[in-house]
Symmetry: D3
Subunit: 135 residues, 6 copies
Amino acid sequence: MATVKLWSDEEAAAHPQVKAVFDDIRATRKSDFVNNFWRALANQPKLLERTWASVKQVMIEPGTLDPLTKELVYIAVSAANSCSYCVHSHTAAARAKGLTDAQYAEFLAIVGMAAETNNLANAMQIPVDREFTVE
Amino acid sequence: MATVKLWSDEEAAAHPQVKAVFDDIRATRKSDFVNNFWRALANQPKLLERTWASVKQVMIEPGTLDPLTKELVYIAVSAANSCSYCVHSHTAAARAKGLTDAQYAEFLAIVGMAAETNNLANAMQIPVDREFTVE
Amino acid sequence: MATVKLWSDEEAAAHPQVKAVFDDIRATRKSDFVNNFWRALANQPKLLERTWASVKQVMIEPGTLDPLTKELVYIAVSAANSCSYCVHSHTAAARAKGLTDAQYAEFLAIVGMAAETNNLANAMQIPVDREFTVE
Amino acid sequence: MATVKLWSDEEAAAHPQVKAVFDDIRATRKSDFVNNFWRALANQPKLLERTWASVKQVMIEPGTLDPLTKELVYIAVSAANSCSYCVHSHTAAARAKGLTDAQYAEFLAIVGMAAETNNLANAMQIPVDREFTVE
Amino acid sequence: MATVKLWSDEEAAAHPQVKAVFDDIRATRKSDFVNNFWRALANQPKLLERTWASVKQVMIEPGTLDPLTKELVYIAVSAANSCSYCVHSHTAAARAKGLTDAQYAEFLAIVGMAAETNNLANAMQIPVDREFTVE
Amino acid sequence: MATVKLWSDEEAAAHPQVKAVFDDIRATRKSDFVNNFWRALANQPKLLERTWASVKQVMIEPGTLDPLTKELVYIAVSAANSCSYCVHSHTAAARAKGLTDAQYAEFLAIVGMAAETNNLANAMQIPVDREFTVE
């Protein structure tokens, strides 16, 4: 029920720009699986290329945040934005990166509580304390 | 410009239920500072009590996620919900817990990218891959 | 800091279509006060006219929901959408219609909890029970 | 398609903390039906316990807002947050509490209009009238 | 799985107010197809009538924005609000009005980037430049 | 009140990576004005560089959508996400690109109506018509 066609491997193979991205996804992840997000973006090769380059830089290249923390932040935004696809794909990714049931339980408690206090603060329009601002 | 009065320390001192929560906030955080969120919630003592008990359990009691990761998840939800107050208070909390500039830069890159792919997935209504679902 | 000019009474008086709406707002509400929302919409007279006609029909004409319940529903949506202006104007309206502190405290507890469980259900992508669907 | 397992009655019976909550849900609601939200939360027993305690206090204990008004506020937030599960469960709950077709029609008109004016006020960034603020 | 019944043509034919709207939808669009949105709103005839009148005025009556631009703006809001139904119906409408694959690709790039920078600006709480405000 | 420092021109001049982006912004826009969004992102030079490269490609490079349509889509997403900064900056940009008052009035009517019908469709959980799906 997507608004666009999902590209098969055969279709991707016939389009050099798309093929290059699919090949790099497989090589980077060391897996043959290319998920639907990329098969949908294949309809927009330039956007596919730029988005994959960004995801690779932001989520995969080593930095100062560990890979699991990155996934939790990603899921948190996705739940708040009610993105069913992104919640599913990044929860699976977090599990593949070692998310335990205990960690997931704590994570869920935080995203629930954050949404609760967000709505309370927005409903009462609480002014920001001077202590929280950057000089 | 809140929709409710922000309670002063004097007003809190005169209301045992509110005083008990303010006292516990100060003791738990080892700081005299009580931020506006609690001064606004003081108008609803029962809600104040329940919310503080939850925050204490979820954000402060030791668990399997480290305190900084918890704050990053909190900010991520707050930014997505456009809660100015919560973004400010939890970014300050994250900094107090040692958030470095490099970590903050990576965090911002993730929340930006998550919002981008959320909107793309929602705009294309991409179906969830069978591989991402729990049996 | 609006993106549009806020019309003064003098400017409104010089534009028959705008004047007619401002006059009706004053007559309907039995008050001389015309709030900024309408002064901003005055830049789009057709939209001003249609929006006021709808607000009048939905919020003011007697129906089966009492006026205070209507305002609470309005604030609930506005907090969830992080609309500072609407939260302020409709909380003031609810108070003018008799909202008590006890009712407001219960209302806040609900909007907080609803946001919390919304985020939990979205994060866990809980399937709808068959019992909740309409045949 | 949840990201977590939904607990069966057999699984719940084998876990005292979960069993106690399921038992209390059934006793409180005077019904054998335990909906999927709680079956999903059962994976996080501490969160299950805290969430049910809050729901019971906020939505079920008698207060100053009538039960139907509470449900309408809940649905309003859930629709704004695009929470399919919550919209379904609380619309069913509202119907069980006597929501008439006429009331539902008026409710829908309000949530639609609130979202409309939220977006208009956010798009025009209308400043809050001094009259709406609390001294 | 709607929360309301979807009206069949037979049911609509038996209700003059609903029939009149359905007839006008068909005449205006020069098509026999009446989509589910209107079949659901038929349960609230007054809301059905007002909503169709507004849609007709805003989306169909000629103005200064071309029909395709209007649909793109509509889809952009719908994706941000995670409204699956509206994304589907207005993407189909945009295609019927001539949306090309190249235009759709550019559109998707914009909605993704807007969401990204929205979240960045909200996360950093960037103050509005004086240059952007209306005197 | 940002959560980060806004870089002055002097600070930017001392950091080659930041200076290069600021220079390119000025050259591309043929204006000396560098707005706060970029002065905040300067704290994260890599994110600054990637974001500007994307904005340049998506919003400035000629394509099949005209520049004004692009800005309207951008504002629509920003209003839905309640991003005050983005609404201000892109409304100013749209005006600089020739947005007329009549076009702005029509645009506002669409974003208001889209939000209204989004909320109605989400509240009634209307199923997508088969006619709207891609084979």
